[in-house]
């Protein structure tokens, strides 16, 4: 996916900066994957395999991380109001998305869970919000950890701003919050993008 088409009609310069940034992201990201090892992502934790979460456990953990990344507020929608979890589940189920990226999203859960048990002796989802936040700050200090969070944020922002036909941004809650004006005609069930 290129950002170039999004930024300018010429498709070039700010676009350029962003694809370079994206490429850099991607390289960091692959670096994290290359080892596939806990030590690269979260240098302090070990024994991830022993703490691997099941599918449902991973999604519970991601739901908590999303809440920290994009908290609900009375005047502004958070991850919950955006249906960000269901949106991410749709993304991860899309075989058109890079397989390494999908694997990385899920593996990151095991790594974070492992770190939580090591540092606090408890599951990540059992920690209070402050401790969860502190852990995310710690994770963000490693390159691959930051990459994992930035990947989750990327799809959170998609859930905030894509057409409601994809499940996020229900009733255009994200668009209304940011006073964004969509274009018409909007996509419908027949002509929308389909996951592979």
């Amino acid at each position: 996916m290129t950002l170039r088409r999004n930024i300018t009609n010429r498709g070039d310069v700010p676009a350029l900066a962003s694809w370079r940034e994206q490429l850099l992201d991607r390289r960091r990201f692959l670096l994290g994957l290359a080892g596939g090892s806990l030590s690269l992502l979260l240098p302090l934790a070990e024994g991830a395999d022993a703490n691997a979460l099941d599918e449902a456990g991973r999604w519970r953990l991601i739901a908590d991380v999303q809440e920290r990344l994009f908290p609900s507020e009375p005047e502004a929608p958070g991850a919950r109001e955006l249906n960000a979890l269901a949106y991410l589940q749709w993304v991860v189920g899309d075989r058109n998305i890079d397989a390494q990226e999908r694997a990385f999203i899920l593996q990151g859960c095991d790594w974070l869970e492992s770190l939580s048990r090591e540092q606090h002796g408890r599951e990540f989802i059992a920690l209070d919000a402050e401790r969860q936040e502190a852990m995310l700050e710690q994770v963000a200090r490693s390159e691959a950890g930051e990459n994992w969070l930035s990947t989750l944020l990327l799809y959170l922002l998609e859930a905030l701003l894509t057409d409601p036909v994809y499940g996020g941004n229900p009733d255009a809650v994200g668009w209304r919050w940011l006073q964004h004006r969509p274009g018409f005609p909007r996509p419908n069930e027949r002509n929308r993008y389909r996951a592979g």
Binding site: R5, T8, G11, L157, E158, F184, R186, N191
Partner: protein
Amino acid sequence: MAGDFDICVIGSGAGAGPVIWRLTRAGYSVVVLEKGPWFKREDFSKDELACCRRSHYTPNLRDEQHVLEELAASGGWQATPAGESKRDFWNGNMVGGSSNLMSGYFHRLKPHDFRLLSEFGPIEGANLTDWPISYDDLEPYYSLVERVVGVSGSVTPHPRQEPRSNPDFPYPPTAEHPVSAWIDEACRELCHHPLRVARAILSQREGGRDACSYSGYCGSYGCSTNAKGSARAALIEPALATGRCDLRPDSKVYRLESDAQGRVVQAHYYDAQGEARKVSARIFVVACQAIESSRLLLGSPGPAHPDGLGNHSGQLGRNLIFSAGGAGSGYFTYAKLTPQQQDQVRTLGPFVNRALQDWYVIDDPRFGPHPAKGGTIDFLFAHPNPIPLANGVRWRDGELLWGKPLKRKLERWFTEDRKLLFEVFCDWLPNDDCFVTLDPQVRDKWGSPVARVRLGSHPHDQRVGRYLAERGQEVLRAMGLDWIGASVSGAPPPNLVAGGCRFGTDPQQSVLDPDCRVWGADNLYVSDASFMPTGGSVPYTWTIYANAFRVADIIRQQLI
């Protein structure tokens, strides 16, 4: 020679549409082999995910990609498959090609663009040459495009205005944004000559095509009214109505088979089911976009073309060009404007349609002792897609931002200002480090070697780009905008690509003859942007259309 069809056209974009339109109207049978799917008007919507964030209009890089060679920091060329870097060099792959997704900023080349070497002299390290045809040869076809494809505008007299055979455009200008008048005012203060940019977008209904609906979402999106002059809406749909056009989407041509005389006899392709098929014709026309056209010819050796069709002199794939330049921007801060001005700036839909060509030739001692080729500055609002804007918000000084600080910053970035851009278009000097070859390892899903593209640029391009970006920033400053900046680099915009099969009078120095016929294959033409030996300093589409109409006339002469 008999064949299944009179003409077989490979590709269906701006380089193909005029050939299809002209020859079906002239009574010939045309088969069109298009790799991508057939999206129609009702298949398009303003869907950011489909247009710009998933491979909906382009191949998945897992199936088909490029290998891109860039100069590494350590020196030397480093090749990276796009599947790894995610650097996507595809443009629209569908019936009508990327003309479906263009913004339709239409500029003609100017007479001296056809004579760059003679007018401005050689530049060390640049493969400059004059075109084998002149502006006068192409002028009637530029005019034809205005009428047939549909170009809306009004001629603004300015010092760099190129000659025209008809006094004005056939369609009145598209609706203009209130800010256009502010740009005019600032430019005039600076003694520049702002001009109204013509658009390949219908301002009035014509035939089966509706007028523009001014959705505010144009470039990168397919058109839901058919106002945009895509090859599909303007040329292929009318060609289908003749009953003489056999349009085959999802048909990927992988080889052109030629005989001992060098003539092409059959096109081999895979259909939607992956079945190998073939078609014969009297004339073959290749228009797959610059990189892919070179790739197809390189991948089609024959008894008389041992190194690929038209590659006797080793020129095939060489002198690939892009559009050089860059962009700059400034912000309208709503809090500094009157309520009425705020409403004007917030207007979504009408087009800015302003450009400066005062420096199409730079005659300025600050730049150099002699006049030099310059370029075009085009003004526009930042693309309205919200996700890239939000993605930019998530970083602060290189650190990831989240939680409430992220949300507050989003609120500010989305509501406090609006970004006005200018884009700089200048010549990408053809050079020995910008070319297409076949990758020795990476193959597409059908088993054919993918294109490997070296992306070297000439340092002169950035000098010109920076000079123009300075001029653009002066205008933004005169407008009183905030946060003014610009960026010029040598990185290529993948959607503005040409060359690779340059035309010329010397078979040793070119791939195509002046008629865009492949040297040594007298029934094979290349009608997309590949023919261009130099690219001018404007977007290519109008020139691609015009030249393809010219090639269509030449083919018609050959068939008679």
